[in-house]
Symmetry: C2
Subunit: 130 residues, 2 copies
């Protein structure tokens, strides 16, 4: 069913090699290196089908558009980091718990999202010349 076209290959490769969750635009830009004529619609359509196939998961973040990463990366439960300088998202390994009991009575907790904000290593380096 999936026809393994050049564009699909480029999109998969971008996500695989990024090592962090990518936004649709980031995927587009990376994949366009392989397939210059690639359009946004194709990126969105391919991402959606990859999610349906179970290869990719969507990472919703507060205040910014969804990122996407390989299911494998999400298997070991982790949280995310957003750089206030460059806006990139990163994975943070490790699972924190103890939230389930925080909810008021009558509320049933079934999941959680933890997002840290700050400055990433790359942006930290760049601004160190104080």
């Amino acid at each position: 069913m999936s026809r393994n076209t050049a564009q699909r290959k480029a999109i998969r490769r971008s996500l695989r090699e990024a090592g962090r969750p990518l936004s649709a635009v980031e995927v587009l830009e990376l994949a366009q290196r392989d397939v210059p004529g690639l359009g946004v619609a194709t990126v969105y359509r391919t991402i959606k089908s990859l999610i349906e196939e179970g290869d990719l998961i969507a990472v919703p973040l507060p205040g910014s558009s969804d990122r996407y990463e390989h299911r494998d990366a999400a298997l070991n439960h982790h949280h995310h980091f957003i750089c206030n300088a460059c806006g990139r998202a990163y994975d943070i390994p490790g699972c924190t718990m103890g939230f389930e009991g925080m909810a008021p009575p009558g509320f049933v907790v079934s999941g959680r999202d933890v997002v840290l904000y700050g400055v990433c290593d790359r942006c930290g380096e760049a601004g160190e010349d104080s």
Copy 2:
């Protein structure tokens, strides 16, 4: 500079009485009880000016549009809960920490968002007739 119009009063009142963070549409619907002709644009504009005045804060949530709540409500640091059934957002009192050390070396953490998902008390009751 703020002219204390009927619509502004209605919007402030909705947010004050809700007791939880409201989306723009929720504000609109509540405020329209007082001012039937109220338009969305006014809600967004008023919310923005209330934020600039420091009365309101925006609450960005993963995967859904921003909610807004009184600054006072946000003063005692807290997290948020989103009901998977009705989509409403709630405040959860209490501050969890110990995240700052989780970031990889080179990453500086300056803030965090914790969002819990599940079923709220209202929706829990409704579905209890099993």
